[in-house]
């Protein structure tokens, strides 16, 4: 068969196969040029920023760029060497450089992330750097005793290379002690890992509630006559079109202590005036407001899948003697899996990264992991924010991978 094909030629005598390949290549090139703008857009606005963010979480040159002399000393002396006069001389020369280039703040900030309270050690010492005279060790210790703290020297050694895992160490609530060993931070400083787990749990709860609420609604929408379904659809979409902030503040109005719901309950005599229920500025408030905001993302994929499920399947099952529960469980539910999968994934991923709603209605215990990302962004600690954001991204990717293994990504149907 292939022999026959290879013998075929076009009118100008070229083999048919080659001619076909050229023609197809040309078409592919044309198609590629059509998607090129989108590809460029995605690379510039998505791939590059995310790549930079990932890099920032392991790269911080705040200290390394102003310490050429110290870097040399660290290279010449292995880890664990007690800093000698040469080390302090190198430090003094680098402090001088920091003073000239006004980089002491940068350098100090970088060390301060690892050993708290050390930023001023650098700015203070750099200000006096010009007056430093040998012996440097005594001169520097005279400025501040902290210069002999082994934790500072360990931190400087690590930070003398711009590539670092320090920010992930912090993100896992660990620090290095005086001997350079990884230890857990004080109980009252542990926050990130606990919050990380909590964020995924809260997101799972929100997703579950959304699914329970959205499933019957989507079913109703899919089975009602078109005219009524459209009207209901608008009711589903209306909140979707309202500003996020407006919706969040409306929840405050409804749920707060002196709010609508509490006042109605008091007026009806169900609760006393001093027994008003705290429904907002805590985790409950966060979950209620976020379920409301994310509900359409569950309804829409479910609806689009349910609409095309032929009703004849369920009718057939019933006529063959299945109970309504069996019909639902074995015939209807499996056909909605692509919609459930899409909705669950969408709602979960959005919930994991949510920040504005928890910030407004979350109070003390309703904060999520993204609030910490935002905290570090506003404190200009971008490397830490990047490390935390990377942790979120990895968490979501792991769940995505699990989803693919358990259900299969090809079964996903968004609309």
């Amino acid at each position: 068969m292939s022999d026959v094909a290879s013998q075929l030629t076009t009118a100008d005598g070229r083999p048919l196969k080659a001619a076909l390949a050229t023609a197809q290549a040309r078409a592919k090139r044309r198609a590629f040029f059509l998607v090129l703008p989108l590809l460029a857009f995605i690379v510039i606005t998505f791939a590059v920023p995310i790549g930079q963010m990932l890099q920032r979480s392991v790269y911080n040159d705040g200290f390394s760029q102003t310490v050429p002399a110290l870097t040399q000393w660290f290279e010449a002396n292995p880890k664990g060497t007690v800093p000698d006069e040469a080390a302090y001389a190198a430090l003094a020369s680098d402090l001088n450089l920091m003073k000239e280039t006004r980089m002491a703040g940068d350098a100090g900030t970088r060390i301060n992330y690892v050993v708290s309270g050390m930023r001023s050690l650098f700015t203070k010492s750099a200000r006096k750097a010009a007056d430093l005279e040998p012996p440097y060790m005594a001169a520097l210790l005279d400025i501040d005793e902290d210069w002999q703290d082994p934790r500072v020297w360990n931190a400087m050694r690590t930070a003398s290379s711009p590539w670092t895992l320090d920010f992930y160490t912090i993100a896992f609530d660990r620090e290095r002690d005086a001997d350079g060993k990884l230890v857990k931070v004080d109980e009252n400083q542990r926050i990130y890992f606990k919050l990380y787990i909590k964020t995924f749990v809260v997101a799972a709860v929100i997703t579950a509630i959304c699914l329970l609420l959205a499933f019957p609604v989507a079913h109703l929408l899919a089975t009602l006559p078109m005219a009524k379904a459209n009207l209901l659809m608008i009711l589903v979409l209306l909140p979707f079109w309202t500003s996020l902030l407006v919706r969040t503040t409306s929840w405050i109005v409804l749920l707060q202590g002196q709010g609508v719901i509490n006042s109605i309950l008091v007026a009806l005599g169900i609760i006393g005036d001093d027994g008003r229920i705290q429904m907002i500025y805590n985790q409950t408030g966060t979950i209620i407001a976020m379920v409301h905001i994310l509900l359409p993302f569950m309804v829409l994929p479910l609806y689009s899948v349910m609409r095309v499920i032929p009703p004849s399947y369920t009718r057939a099952a019933r006529s063959l003697g299945a109970t309504s529960w069996t019909t639902f469980r074995r015939i209807y539910l499996p056909q909605t899996i692509p919609g459930i999968g899409a909705g669950v994934l969408l709602v979960f991923i959005l919930a994991v990264g949510y920040y504005i709603t928890p910030a407004l209605v979350g109070g003390a215990d309703g904060q999520l992991f993204s609030n910490m990302v935002q905290f570090h962004m506003t404190k200009a600690n971008w490397s830490m924010a990047a490390a935390l954001a990377t942790m979120l991204l990895v968490g979501v990717l792991v769940l995505y991978w699990l989803y693919d293994r358990l259900i299969g990504i090809d079964k996903l149907k968004l609309g």
Partner: protein, 361 residues
Amino acid sequence: MNKKTLFALTTALGGLALPTLADDITIMSWGGSYSAAETEAYYKPFTAETGIGIVSVDADNPATPVKAQVDAGNVTTDVALFLLSDAVRLCDEGQLMPIDASMLPDGIDGTPAMDDFLEGTLSECMVPNDIYATAVAFDASKFAEGAAPSSIADFFDTEKFPGKRGVLKSPKVVLEMALMADGVPAAEVYDVLDTDEGVDRAFAKLDTIKNDAIYWEAGAQPPQLLADGEVVMTMSYNGRIFNAAVNEGKPFEVLWDGQVFEWEGYVIPEGAPNTEAAMEYIKFATSSAPSARFSERISYGTPRKSAAPLVGNVNGTDIPMAPNLPTYPANMTNALASSADFWVDRETELGERFNAWLLSN
């Protein structure tokens, strides 16, 4: 293309091109009523006097976009309004231009600039513009005559004053107030807070109101919480309470005891496109008369001693502004100047501890 659309297009393009004119300067500030006060007190008279146009840009906190601009090497901001802590940090990192304070004009009474600004407010890269305070505020109509809270300790006294309190969701200011309420004199607050025992003491004091606290982050929240009756009292920026009390007629009062005041001011980012005009602007805006005009429009105190007596009535009313300012002598009897030096060192550590404290039960 018909004439109308052509016209619309050229005006639109003209609007786009405006900010790039060489003579204009771009000023990034807080927006809202703050920038409204700047516009009337500074921008309009400055443009009238010098012919230099001003493009006003709003930001949540100008330090964040300015840092991003300097990092990217694409600075479009000539002047920005910074909190002191941000100015100190970015100045140390070489992202702001040093400003020689001796170049600033003398006070209207002839005092040299170096002596005219309140002590300690001038720093390497920032010229202070105003002094604002975080203080406790309450709704006077909710308390009987003479039974209103009268000291910072009352804020932490849930027996005498039961009910919810609005607490700023940040260790800064909150820890200082806790220590002052615990009896630490303002002058010793940072010495105490610099020790581990002091930090524990502050958190222990906070524990006493933990179950009665509603936390806020945005400055607009405290007046709202008071107005809704959600809290009996709340920490708040003094300007927000003033605004609700004077402009909206709410019966809110500020409890000045235990106030923590800070100052903010103008900086020039390193690499700003028009530094000469930027400097001219800063000289103009921070001189005595415009500074007093600014204080009449928003209840933030002027950092110039020579400008304080010039502050008249609240703009457009016959209510004197001075008693509403953090710098009014009667309001300063137990006041603490927030320490930028302390917070640049400890913000990360105490921020983590504060967040962990919020999450623990």
